[in-house]
Structures are given as structure tokens and as C-alpha cells.
Amino acid sequence: MTTKTQRNPLRFLSGLSHAALAIWALVIIGPLIWVFLSSFKDTTEIFSSAWTLPAELRWDNWARAWSQAHIGQFMFNSTIVVAFSTFFTMLLGSMAAYVLARYKFIGSRFLYFFFVTGLAFPIFLSLVPLFFVLSGKTFPPFEVLGDLLGSKSGLVGTHTGLIMTYVAYSLPFTIFFLVAFFRTLPHSVAEAAMIDGAGHYKLFFKVMLPMAKPGLISVGIFNVIGQWAQYMIPLYVVPGGNEDKFMLTQGIASISVAAGFKSDWPALFAAITIAILPMIILYTLLQRQIQNGLTAGAVK
């Protein structure tokens, strides 16, 4: 009898913790399911029964979101830009990191810190002039680099400009992470390859890069998700007036404003669902790797 009364408060506490976990899970999943269901409703249903099932699966909401609201176009834009920007981030990032980690030369320590300090600066510090640098607009006393990018071409409002920007801003973390990774790789393998007559380039592409694969995957995932989610940089680099070049994030944000005017709420719900679904599917398939990749910088 005494043991029972002693255990009761503990039971209560444990029940409470289970309830807390279940409630938070519901708070996470609830809105996602609700948006998914709402994407099949018509306007009347959305207003009259926010939390009941749709009467039928209205795929035409999805079709309207995909073509009329240009979600298909935005998705395509994001895919192209992120594919290129992640590829070049990884290529240039691993090249720089490899050299900084394994070669001793004058200024190598300085260059490492030069890249890594980029992590400490808020992006707000460079956004406005970035727009002018990309548009080729120069002003005294900063004319020097203006013509380097070509004042005629004008990279504002282009995917090329956005890709270059993503790569540049992803380099500090990528280099920081990969330098640490390349340093852990054994020297014996590299020396053996050198004795076999491999040059510097061959050594990097054929030996070191394959050995660094686990590290590359982690930063790669980090960069893909980070660049895919980027919203502020495209606002400055691909500003309004370039709607056909918008990223998915910009597109969804602009639809949410436009849907208010056209009051096509079902299409908005469908648009959100289309934007979210690929990420959820990807996450379900690769959740271990994605968790590792996103927390890579913090867990050490």
C-alpha cells in the first residue's frame, strides 16, 4: 500500500511527460496535415469547415498552383540554381579547404582565418552593396572591382548572379568544416600515391576527394538545404520585376500576397503543399544523413 502511494506521483509525472511529447508532435504535424487536406478543398469548404475532410480530391487546385501560380516554374528555377550552386560550392570549397589543410605556404594560416571570419559577419552587412556589385554599378572610391564583373552584363536578376552569390556565401562554412575534415585524413595514403607518381591534381581528385566522402556528404546536405531555403539573398539579387526568375521561396511568399487579392485560397494551400512535400519525402528517406548534415557545424 505504501509503495503504491509513493509511486503515484511518479506515474503522474511520467504521464505528464508523455502528454507533453504527444502534444508537441501534434503541434508539429497538425498544421502540415491541415494544409495538405485544405489543398483539396474548395473555397466554401475552407471557410465553413477549417478542420474537416474535403468532400473530394480536387487536384485542379494543384494544377492551378502549378501552372497559373507558376509553382512549377519556381520549383524548376530553385532546382537549377541549387544544383549548380551546391556543385560549385562543394568543388571550390573542397579545393580551397584541401590546400589550406594539407599544404604549408606563406599566408596559408592567414587565408584560413580570412575565410573563417566570414562566418562571424552577419549577411546584412553586405546585402545592399552586393546588389550594386552584381549590377555593375560603381561609385568612388570603389571603382576598382566594378568592371571586373562587367558593368554591361549586369548579374542582378539572373540565375548566374544568384549561383555565384550562393557559392561565395557558402564558402566560409564549407571551408571551415572541410579543413577540419581533411586534416584528419591519414598522410600515409597520400605519400604512397605520390611515390606511385601521382601529381598534385591526381592526388586530390583520385585519392583525397574519395576519402573525404563522408565529410563532403554532410556539408553537401547542409548546403543544399540551406541554399534551397534561402529567401533574403534572392530578394536582393533577383528583386521584383524578375518574377520569371524567382526562387520557390520568393514565389510562395508572393503567391501568399496575391492569393489575398484573387482570393484563391485553395491554390495557395496547394502551392504550400507542393513546396513542402518534396522536402518531407526527402527527409523521411534520408533522415539520419539530414540530421547529421544540418547539425554538422554544431556537434563537434
Binding site: 545592399v128 550594386f132 520557390l248 522536402m279 554544431a298
Partner: protein
Amino acid sequence: MRHGKLPFVASFLALPIALYVILVIYPMLQTFYLSLTFWRGFDVDPVWVGFDNFTKLFDDERFWKALGNHAKLLVALPLITIAIALFFAFLLNVGGGSKGGVRTGVWGSKFYRVVFFLPQVLAVVIVGVLFQTVYRSDDSGLINGILTKIGLDPVYLLVNPSTALWAILFVAIWQAVGFYVVLFSAGMASIPAEIYEAAELDGASRVTLFFRVTLPLLWDTIQVAWVYLGIAAFDFFALINVLSQDNGYGGPDGATTVLGVELYNSFTKSNIGRASAIGVVLFFLTLTFAFLTLRASRRETVEY
């Protein structure tokens, strides 16, 4: 390793350095310069005005509202996120007692960990638009749809100046908690199970275990989390941009404005001097914060 080393090193560094200098470092330097000028961004060159942009900024009511909101976010975002994440991480890793010398979480731990982390893979701004629909003032919103169904008055979370910022903050917490659950879980996994067993033999309850064992041994990780979330409080932009009233301009009446939003607004109005000055202010704020937290939270680390 000797011959052809320098050309090789140069060839691998040239492009990364060029991109980084031209698109990151160079614009940063320009911001400092532009913050001391008046410029509309058009063909006429910037005009040197000294600290005019800063003095105007310090007289600007919106600037102080933004700073006030950063202060609220700076306290609330880390505090609430870390508290919730620590609680859940403890339940998911230690709460189940020990089995065969290994600490286990409560029932369903794996499932919860996967679900809690999920918002992390979604773009912030898309999460923002999602909650725009959740918070909607009429019956089509998730919250008000339910409230009116059960006969309660609707709430206007984003319209009411006293709740708007907190409603937006909730979205940030909604997204962040899972990340810190995973982060803290990694930290907790490295705490030896014997320490918990010894404490339990001494009759420690789960509450005592949490405060006396987990919390002190996790201090370093919590410090990292605090810095991350503090910086996130300064970086607030996307959620305000899609969730706040006045077309994303920190409404109602500046109640939710932050410096990133003020900066973007000045930029779109071609007020380059003001925009740059705000960038400089944010730079110093972020740096000061990082420096102070790293200083203040440095305390004896427990060796185990």
C-alpha cells in the same frame, strides 16, 4: 610533394578567393563607406554626410521599436527554445531508465525525434506562409476555424499589436526546437550511464537527475545553443517579412519590426545610406552579443 607546389596551390585558391573577395568582403567594406553617405543608388555619386545616417537613425522611433523587439527576441527565443528542447531531449534520452547499462528514452523516442526535427528541413519563409494561413483572422484560419466552431470568439494574433510579435516568435520556436533536441541528445549520449546509475542508487529522482547531472554536464552544448539562438534573434527577417501586417513591414505600426526588415525597406525605397547604417549597427550588435556571451558563460567545465 615539392615540384609544382605553388602553381597548384594558386590554381586551387584563385577562384574561391576571387568570389569571396568580390561578393562578400568587398561589399562589406562598401557598406561601412555607404553608411556615411547620402545615396539614392542612381547615377549621381554618393555624397559624404558623416554620421548623419546614424544620428537620424537614433532619432527614429521605428529604429528603437526594432531594437526593443530584438531585445525581446534575444531573451525569449533562446530561453523558451532551450527550455523545451532540454526537457524533450532529457525525456527522449534518459527518461526511460537504464537497460543493460545504457540509458534509454521513453517509449516512442525514435518517432518523436524524427517528427520534432522535421520543420528544420523546411524553408523558413514557407513555414511563415504556412502559419499565415494558420493564424488567419477569419474562419478559414486553423485556429479561428476551431475557436468559432466550439463557440469561442476569434483571436487576431497577428493584427493585435500586443500579441503579433509573440505569435511570430512561436513560429520560430516551432521550427527550432527539433534542431536543439538533436543537438542536446548528442551531448547527453556522451554522458556515461554510470553517473546516472550512481545517482539513482543514492535515491535521486528524475527531476534531480536532470538538474544535478544532465544540466551541468551539458553546459558547453547549451552555451553553443545560446549563441546560435541569440544570433538568430538578430537575423530575424523572413518570418516578419511574410507574417507581419503592413505588407510585411513589421506591422501593426512597427510592433513587430526588426532591423533586417527596416534595412530591406530602406533598400527598396532606395535610401541606401539608411540601409547601410542599419547593416553596420547589426554588425556591431551581433559581434558584441557573441563576444559577451562567450565571455559571460565561460565557467568551470566539468570533466568526466
